[in-house]
Symmetry: C2
Subunit: 138 residues, 2 copies
């Protein structure tokens, strides 16, 4: 296999009132604030066709994560038995990619406003994808 | 922002009867075969707690993609108006991460068998996550 490791780049950054990991809820549905996705000018063309009201997947790079961690106590609670990171949403994992489903509230220039995003301010955004509503792939 | 670009590594590889991009359906629900996820030994501990019958997100690195593409005709059909790659599931995009929802059929050693995966043989796997069933995050 050639080309490993691969280089992943930021296409933008999260702008949020959440300033540190300790402030961040574990899931967006657990009280996360609305946030802005500031897309870098060189990737702006990639937004064509994205509309307010639509649900998207936001893929982030959880840049404060520990990449050597393979097992965790889910939700940081030592009462929970150790689980493999692939069986959890722990930000600590070999490739710390965050996966967030959010509704688009507004788009203005290079700024996409979304509802209830649990990523902290400054988190690199690596991809956006439409949610495909089907029985298998949400 | 320090640390850019980031390095992303393979935690395993897809083993599939699909041998090339032209053979691959665009979504798993469009006739994709069952496939095996061969997890590298050094990441095996990360699987603890994953069970057959469970749905997971498989994040792949679509290694044959064109990363400079920002707009495409959806589904490769020139009749479809140009759309930004962030509004589509095109494999061509700045960071070609594939997002696949699959059901686990079996786990044996470092091999996770899943149903209906549209990624081709040899595709690097970069992360696995549990599907969280809620109104916002599937």
């Amino acid at each position: 296999m050639t080309g490993l490791p691969f280089e992943i780049t930021a296409v933008g950054f999260v702008r949020s009132a959440l300033r540190g990991c300790s402030a961040a809820p574990r899931q967006g549905s657990e009280g996360a604030p609305d946030a802005k996705l500031e897309i870098l000018p060189e990737f702006l063309e990639g937004l064509t066709g994205i509309e307010p009201g639509q649900d998207i997947w936001i893929l982030t790079w959880l840049h404060e994560s520990q990449r050597s961690v393979l097992q965790v106590h889910p939700r940081g609670d030592p009462q929970n038995p150790l689980a493999g990171v692939f069986a959890t949403r722990s930000p600590d994992r070999p490739n710390p990619i965050g996966l967030h489903r959010c509704r688009i509230l507004d788009i203005a220039g290079n700024c996409v406003e979304v509802a209830a995003l649990e990523a902290i301010d400054g988190t690199p955004i690596v991809d956006l994808k439409p949610v495909i509503e089907s029985s298998r792939d949400f």
